[in-house]
Every structure is written in C-alpha cells, then in structure tokens.
Point group: C2
Chain length 497, copies 2
Amino acid sequence: MLTTTDPATGATTETGLAPTEAAGVAATVAAAGAAAAWLAAPANRAALLDAMADAVEADRDALVAIARSETGLGQERLTIENGRCALQFRLFAEAVREGSIFETMIDHAAQTPIGPGPDIRRTLVPLGPVAVFGSSNFPFAFSVIGGDVAAAIAAGCPVVAKAHSSHPLTSAASFDALEAARRAVGGPEGLFGIVYGQAAGTALVQEPGIAAASFTGSLGAAQALVAAIEQREVPIPFYGELSSINPLVVAAGALPERAEAIAEGLAASVTGSGGQLCTKPGIAFVPTGEAGDALVAVLADRMGAAAPSVLLNRRIATSFGEIRDRLLAAGAAPLATGLQPEGAGFAVPATVLQTTAAELDAELAEECFGPLVVVARYDDAAQIDGALRRIPPSLTPTIHLEDSDRPFYEALAPAMTATSGRVVFNGFPTGVRVCWAQHHGGPWPATNTQHTSVGVTAVRRFLRPIAFQNAPEWALPEGLRDGDVGTPRRVDGILTL
Amino acid sequence: MLTTTDPATGATTETGLAPTEAAGVAATVAAAGAAAAWLAAPANRAALLDAMADAVEADRDALVAIARSETGLGQERLTIENGRCALQFRLFAEAVREGSIFETMIDHAAQTPIGPGPDIRRTLVPLGPVAVFGSSNFPFAFSVIGGDVAAAIAAGCPVVAKAHSSHPLTSAASFDALEAARRAVGGPEGLFGIVYGQAAGTALVQEPGIAAASFTGSLGAAQALVAAIEQREVPIPFYGELSSINPLVVAAGALPERAEAIAEGLAASVTGSGGQLCTKPGIAFVPTGEAGDALVAVLADRMGAAAPSVLLNRRIATSFGEIRDRLLAAGAAPLATGLQPEGAGFAVPATVLQTTAAELDAELAEECFGPLVVVARYDDAAQIDGALRRIPPSLTPTIHLEDSDRPFYEALAPAMTATSGRVVFNGFPTGVRVCWAQHHGGPWPATNTQHTSVGVTAVRRFLRPIAFQNAPEWALPEGLRDGDVGTPRRVDGILTL
C-alpha cells in the first residue's frame, strides 16, 4: 500500500491506494488507446476541456485541502494554482476551437519550375496516448490536472498520468475530477488513466501503446526514465523540464531608487512556495560598492527574519542541507540564515550565501530546491557574461534596470538569450503566465526540448503532421476541404484568416 | 586520400580530397559558430538563400556532370534535382521574408482570472550550427545543396555538411557553389563548412558547438550517429529520415479502366532513379481474381523488359541481392526479372516478387533499395488492414481508387493515416513536391521526428522559442515591438496579418 506524508509534521499515513501492477499498466494504456477515436473530433476535445475546467473549480476546496496536507503549500497558493488549471483548460479549449494550432495548409495543384506539382494538404494529428509525469512542487498545475494534460487533450491524445509519490491522494482526487468531466461530456472510459508507484511509471513509458512522455522533475529521475525509454523497440519523444538556476541581475541604474524594493521582491521570490519553483532565482548578481551593499543588507535582513519553509518531502529537505553544504565547501560564504525550524516536519531556514561573479562556476550554480539564494557581486558586465557562459542554461534570467543601463544590458543580452527561454525585465521569474506567447523552456539542462511546457504552443509536442496528395474531397478531413472552414489556414502559400 | 567510384563501370579514382582530421572538424565548427551573428538578421538569410539558388543554377552543368559520374543517375533526373534545389532555396527565402515561420506572438499585460499577467512576447530563434548528413541517393537535394541546408539557413543556423562517401567530388563542387553565394552577399567565412570521412562525421556530432544534426540514410548508420550523440555532455536533437516500404494499394474499382496505366506507372516508379528513392513503392496490394491478374501481368511484362538499374555504390548493389534472397527465403515467389546487367558496374535487374496480403509481415516488408517490388494479392480490405498493422510505418502509402471504392478506402484510412505521413491518391509516391503543405516524414522507422524534412515547415527543426517579459521597447527584437512590422503575428490571442 502507498503512504502519504504531511510535510508539516512528518507524519505518515496509509492512503488505501495500491501500486499499479504491470498488468494494470498495460490495461490502462490499452483503454487509453481505444478512447483515442472519440478525441479525434476537435469539438469533443474543446467540450471536454471546458468540462475539465468546470470540474476542477467545482472540486476546488476539497482538492486544496488534500493538497495542503500532502505538500505543505499554503491555502492561497494552492487556490491560485487550482484557478490556473481551470484557466489553462479553458485557454486550450479556445485554441482548439480557433484551430490555428493544427497548422493547416493547402497547396493546390500547380505548375512549378520543375514540372507539375500535385495538390498537397497538411494538418496536424494526435500522436496517441501520452504518459504525463507530474512534479512534486505543483500538485495541480504540473500534475494530474496540469498543463501537460491540457495540452495532450487539446492535441487529441488520451492521457495516462503517473501519480507523484509526494501527493498520491491529491492525484487520486484530481483524477476523480477529470473523470467527472469526462462523464459530463460523454467521453469513453479509459480516456484518462492513472498509475501509482515508481515501477508502474517505468512500465508506463515502456508500453508500446504510449506515444510520448512528458515529465517535470529532477535531472536524475529524467535520466532513469530516458534509460527505460531507450529500451523500447519504437522510440518515443520524451519532453523533460529538468533543472534551472535562473540568474537575476541588478544593474547599477536600478539601485538608487529601487534597491530596497528589489531586495524585498527577491526575498519573496526566493522564499515563496518554500523556494521550490523551477523558476526561483538561485543567483543574484549585485554590483560591488555601497549601493549594492545596501541592497544586499536589505536582502540579508529580510531573509534573516523569514520564517522557516516547509519543504515538500524528506528527500527535498535532506537535499537542501546537502546542497547548501556543497555550496559552502565550494567557497560560497554564509551571509544570512532565517529562523530555525522546530518540530518533526520538513522545514528548513531561509539561506543567503555570497560569492563573486568572477568566481561563479557550475559548482556554485548548483540548483537548490528550497529558500536559498547565492549573491554574486560583480564589477562589470564582462564578469557576468563570463559567469553566464560558465554555468548551465536556465529557464529564465532576470534583469532589473533603467533606460540608462541600455549599454550594460546590450553587453549581456547575447549570453542571456543564448542560455535561456524567457528573459524577465524589472520583475521576478517566479509566476509563469499561461497565455499564447509564453515560453517555459530553455537549452539543456533547463529542458531537453525546443517546445514549451506552459502556454498554448505546448500542444505541438503531442501532434504530428499528415499530408494528403490529390485526395478526392470526400477522403479529406473536413478542415482540409476547399471553401471557408472557419479556421486560419495557409492556402497556396498565403495565410488566410 | 578519398577515392570516388563510377557506379556504371566500378572504376575507382583518387579525388585529391583528404579525410578531415579531428582538429579540422573542431576548427570548422568554431568558425560556423562565429558566423552565426551575421545570420541572426532575417534579411541576410533571405539574401543568402536567393544567392544560393542563383549559384546552384549557375553551376548546374558542371554539377550534373560530376554527379553523373559519381552516382550513375541520369542527366534529366539530375537536372531536375538541381532545379529543385534552386526552387527550395527561393521558397525558403520567401518564407523568411514573410515571417510566419518565426511564430511571433505578443500578449500585452492584462488582468487574468488569477491576477495580473505581465507582457509576454515570443519568437523563434536559431538553435546554432547544424550538422547536415546528406544521402547517397540525392547528391543535390538531400546533400550539400539540399533541403536541410536550406531549412537551417532559413532558421539562421550556420551549416557544417558531412560529404557523402558516395559522391565526394559532387559534395566539394556543391560546397564551392555555396561559398560563391556566401561571398556574393558578403556573408562571413565559416558560415558554411564541410568535412570528409566517416570519422569526421562522428567527431562532428560530438562537437560541443553543434546544436542539431539532420540525417537522411539507413537505420544502421543513424543508430551509429545516435550512439555518438548519446556520449555528448549536452544532448542535441537528431533528425533522421530512415527507412520506408511505402505500400501501394489498388482498389478493385480502379481496375476496369486503369489496370494497365497503374501497372506501367508502378513499374516506372519502382525503376526510376534505379529504385533508390525513399518513397519508392516497395509493396503493391492487388486484388485477387482476373482483373488483378491482368494488372500483375502488365507489371511483370514491363519489369521483365526493363533495362538493368545502375545502383549508387557497391554496398547498395550487394545489399540488393542479399535482401532479394532474404525475401525469397521468407516465402516470396519470383514473378519477373528484367534484363541482366553486363560489365563491372553496380547494375542489377528489375525484380518483381509475389506474396499475399494475408502472409505479408515485417520480414516480407524489408526495405530494398533498388528496382524491386513485392506484389501482395488480397481478397478484402481487412487483409490489407492487418498487413499494414504488422509491417513498419512508412513515409507514404498510396491508393488507386474510384469514388465507388469509398467504403473500401474508409476501411483502410485509419491504418493508412496511423502508419504514415502522406497519403497519395491515384498517383505514385515518388516525387515529393517542395511547398508549404508538404510533409515528408512518418512514424518510426520512417523518421524519428514529428517534423518534415521537405517543405517550408522543415525550418522548425532548427528553431527554438524565446520569450521576453515586460521588456522595454528598446530591448526587444524589432519584430516583437508594437505597431505593424509587416509580419503575421498573434496579438492578445488573435492572429493578425
């Protein structure tokens, strides 16, 4: 039987849930495959996505209560996260109805410089059942009711979720909400599946019926899944969001007016959700000199006064201490430590360490899940540029600046854009807006893909093109026929609305 | 020193070209990386692509003559292939100017159901230097002046080509044309690179500066490159177009009027370019009964009278005989053999084998490069459906039918679309139109990617998104600023032209 642990107390209880056995995994994937035909109709997908939004809103209070007891995350944070899931499902429903995400193109038969060209019509179709591995730090938005599930359904792919071991009861309750939505719109049984336990997760990615896997979590866990996938006869795409240090740069021009506000915002960004966000700023580049000293002093003060953060599970809490010790051993100096935790739960103190941009290297840029930030003092842009090129790429770097800092930014822009997927100005990287233009991804090891896991374009991960050559009209999918189909398409090279 | 062999005679001569040593590979990749900044400007890419079209046209006669002597392919085929390269470069130049391929999106700051959302602006940027591995069977269009090079340049990625061992002199002359184009538009040295020899190819994909690799060739060679890539510290995407049997189905309704024309077209498609096209129909499903017998008789007649095909190299010619023998051993019956080759070159006879749809399996569906087709007689659609699900997926299946065959097609459509990337009606799969809507790809082992290698959308393989959050206007790339930039963009969720 699976257990669940309250991170606030460390108390472990039985869940009544059993690890899914191999036969159960196979049956779940087979049922998902059988449900794919119903999802082939975009209208069914859109209706289902709207119903999913309604269902997670309807179950909000129960879901938040269960997730609180399994994650230690706060009521407000979890309530917003539940709202984000509903927003996400509705945005994908809209996108399915609008239809651009299917990239439909028609080239009529025509003479070309090398001879007659046939009629070619292309659209994107679903890959097939998708395995979704949720993350510990987003029990809703990157788990069973999360963005990968929304994107897969929008693409027309049935979903089999692997319940995260840190929140099995939240996963089960989330799955119940999905099932309620499915029944509400008459979707076939098996369209949503869920499996429990690490062995079931490995078996899941090896099932021949699984067409893609998406994952948000640690590099180590990803590598284990990749190794399992490499044993498949037929390879499948594996979309991993993995590891990110998210450097934040304070330009000199921002200091006179905003040093205190930046320091306070940074402390909030580092400690929010216990510092367990993949976009948490892990390094803060601050100018040497008095104005920078003042910012660092405020940061140290706020972090020193911060309450302990309850981390998601024992492993993360243990890692936090180990990584902090490695950073100290690598030469980072302790600068401030927040209030010490009491009791048996998985709480750790807010922590600020310090180094210099000139010394910063991959070792000092190790990602630490939890309320820890390394301040790196710099003399000039060249020192930051060098550091950015020595440390691993990130999901998102941040810069605080004024217009007067333009030359400084321009010196850094090549490295900031080459090593990330989203550059944040005068804000904080935590909080990822769910919208069309969002990109939540970045060069390895931030992700292993050229696609986002947040925002509408995440759907592309679960689609593949198919073309029809000289097909009679009756053999074409509706959206590929001539005439106005109400969807943006590219016809004979011209984009038409 | 590298040698080259004339497949028509088997005669081998010195090329004067040396295998590229490890230091040379590293220097070539470093130079490509340094040239990336010039390609960052879309206007430079478009001008370069137009110049590349002009250059390959200017060198057409010389290129065709060299390629003839190295490939055994005919004057007309090679001349058209050269024209296809020019067309391809110009189409990508147009696409760069039009700008949709960069998928630009702007979401202005706005209130959302879960709070204020920041301004987010997204576009696609180049991955970095791309390694292109050409194929033996397209000395131009899938080699140094081919589609992968066009797509990479359109994406803004410098290219390092690996010269194919079957046509080193064609590769060198093609590279000279690229260099002439580069000089004509003032592009930096190193933007195009080329390496020679198998060891250099392995070293190329392991260079840290290479950001992606594209490959057209055999599954075995691809697996060797994948193994080399897996040893990299930082993984890169590997786009492989690999293996395809391309089943062709003749529906009963097509027989009364078109049996002879279909048989003649099939014989031409199987023997054209020596049967060495990745889209060559390798299996032909023909109805049992007299009308089907008549079609098969015409096919056997035309193939039996066909001249021998000169294959591209000794390895392919040897494989042809080995695979034919394996197919016979697996139970296929010999049906017709064309004229026997004479002399020392790599020629083989046209070959027709026969089996039944009920017996067809993966063993009988082994891809055979060369003028060989397996006829599979069928009683009903269910037999074909079963066979399509037993054999590996393909780039493209074909069906010959009349409107009266609609129920027959509808019974086969699920399997045909699930196991391919392009369904051809009443034609032949050889000949792939270069246009926006083309999809040249398919489920594994046809390709290992959800992207095409022919047509404009091939560019997506070499691009990655980047987003800017709350950036001051001066920090945004031009195409992401407010106002009309002359490019289709999605603004606040609405696609605008």
